[in-house]
Symmetry: C2
Subunit: 427 residues, 2 copies
Amino acid sequence: MIRSHYSYQIPKKDGVIVKVAGFVETVRDIGKITFLILRDRYGTIQVTSKDENLCDKIRKLSNESFISVEGRVSLNKEARNGFEIFPINIEVLNEAAKPLPLDISGKIESTLEKRIDWRFVDMKNLKNMGIFILQSEIVRAFTEFMHENNFVRIFASRLTDAATEGGADYFSVNYFDKKAYLAQSPQLYKEAILVSGIDRVYDIGFVYRAEPHHTPRHLCEYASFDIEMVCEDLEEILEMCEGLMNYTFKKLNERCENILKLYNVELKAPKKIPRITFEEANKILLELGVKIDKNDLTPEGEKKICEYSKDNFDSSLVFITEFPFTKKPFYLMRKGENLTYSFDMLFNGLELSSGGIREHRYEERVKNILAKGLKPEDYDHLRFWKYGMPPHGGFAIGIERLTMQILGLKNVREATLLPRDPDRLNP
Amino acid sequence: MIRSHYSYQIPKKDGVIVKVAGFVETVRDIGKITFLILRDRYGTIQVTSKDENLCDKIRKLSNESFISVEGRVSLNKEARNGFEIFPINIEVLNEAAKPLPLDISGKIESTLEKRIDWRFVDMKNLKNMGIFILQSEIVRAFTEFMHENNFVRIFASRLTDAATEGGADYFSVNYFDKKAYLAQSPQLYKEAILVSGIDRVYDIGFVYRAEPHHTPRHLCEYASFDIEMVCEDLEEILEMCEGLMNYTFKKLNERCENILKLYNVELKAPKKIPRITFEEANKILLELGVKIDKNDLTPEGEKKICEYSKDNFDSSLVFITEFPFTKKPFYLMRKGENLTYSFDMLFNGLELSSGGIREHRYEERVKNILAKGLKPEDYDHLRFWKYGMPPHGGFAIGIERLTMQILGLKNVREATLLPRDPDRLNP
């Protein structure tokens, strides 16, 4: 075993023998004493030696070499965390090359491009590492909440021979002698499965958008959390989404306290998320003197409505409901001629989630497809709608965007382990 | 709300008013009384009516129409589950077309091809639905176990510009003006992230193999559960895998009792999984008179070793360790010249998992790549190995294969929601 204790687990008792392992953060040599700061996933430990042989070994260590140290705990108020370790044995498990490709102390700023080029080295900085630990805890909380609410996890294929949203932004795959496409979302599958009688499903996985532009909020591959459930009213969907956010934020406060502190974030678990119809939102924006688009919220509109929600309802999250059919996909159920039973969830100025009640009636769904100028025969899945499809709805949340918004990051690439955009396919 | 209770939640008390919803399984009309069997995700309910108007409505219902029924509970020993519901109101939420594309009663067998063509209708049969509910519970247990053991969930990109295993079986993607490939596994990423200091990671998602053959155990897209952790000995990996299987089988026994019963499966949570080296396995096979391949287990060999394990250790699971380097990927650590610190986990005659200790030393890894006839310059990720990569190992489990082996299914397609093979891209 490489270690007996992580840094935070070391008993604060003089003389206890422990084995720790981690990266050499710094070495300081003041003649007859050498100090070594060792870093593991949870923090740092001071290793202090007066032994000549060991001092010699420590002096030769390059930064970021991975070592294990067996030694005695010694309480010392002046050392980090109130103790140091006097080593008995030091084993160099893998020496690191010099120099490092980028500074990991946080003192010298690198460009985002370089940070992503060296993603796994950049993550040696515990603040950067924290982004991905928090993301892991978001998804953990999501799945816990889903199973507590009787959802079934599905694996909807990401290879398809047909369109989903009707958009053009697909990546094509050379699939034996055929052409396949990378799915833009699991939308039609997560709906179709409901005809089976499984009445609540969720799916987590990558989805793909072949959009050639670079923005701080778009990626060509992103992790989508998708849910779909049997229900009749939009309010049932909103309540599920609200419950999910409440559960997740609570768990993040419990499990990621340190990371949230590093980013100076206070995360308030929402009890009630304000609901504002698109029509009301436009009225509010006009009163605030913000230019509106009759069919959709503009990025500026999203920001201003979030500020309004913060000021008036003390909520960073807000639901905007009942968007016009013009800007929403065909599978949404219409409310009257022009509106839909839809919603967007905004968070700190950005759209995080979209959803709504779907059109479950075969004939009406065909009408919606035609109204969008699409061809029903391109939607093979439609045949499933004939066999008693229950009323249903759902939503999707972009996992990297949620991570970004929680931590207040400026670019979704910061919250993406391996970002894929028109220019980037590695590492 | 569509329902107040699922079938299994209905209080067994005369006169209680409930609202249930589900599919019309059968309608039986005996003149002045009509019986309707309603099916939801958990089971069936008998609805009995003597009301003329309602009887008329019931008679007209097509099978698999989705309806909701409000009514009074009435205890009746002769009815299913000891009660029936006298309806007050029946609402037809979506009528089903006739006839259904395949029999869902389980009385008339369909071909597997047809069942997959109509996957979501086929899953109306509760036994078939059970496959995917059990699969969901497998993955739920996996993730629970991982987080209890401090693993971090990562999202390793599935688009890459480089090879993983060095094999040729890649699907290529038209990625703007470049060529990308669908990942065969997240292997190199899940390893590379360990250089950051996150010392335990897991990843769940699809992986891709462009293999043109049809077998009952291979797919072109399958869900892989991948773990990687900092450690030194193969035994640490085996124990983690053993703990995972023990936890998962226990949870399946708790949470999927009904499904396991439908399939007549008794699932024994393994405390200890036998370890047999590849060399020992070959000796055993020779003694049993089975032809061996000096470099790998044959499908026949896998079967016989599993029978041997069952007979001698009362274990359906067995680890075969230390395979020759010839047949294993370059990233494994060698034991001497010819062997590797590797293992396969077999279950009821089939390989479920592969793993081992990886080569974490840069120079040795380069040597391994060269020894396989591959080019180090094709492996961009290698540069991360220079900055203190800790010793580590891990494994991957095929989720559909595990589902198949637990339930004793004959073809992995039965355990795959939307199978993708050389001939199939839909539904």
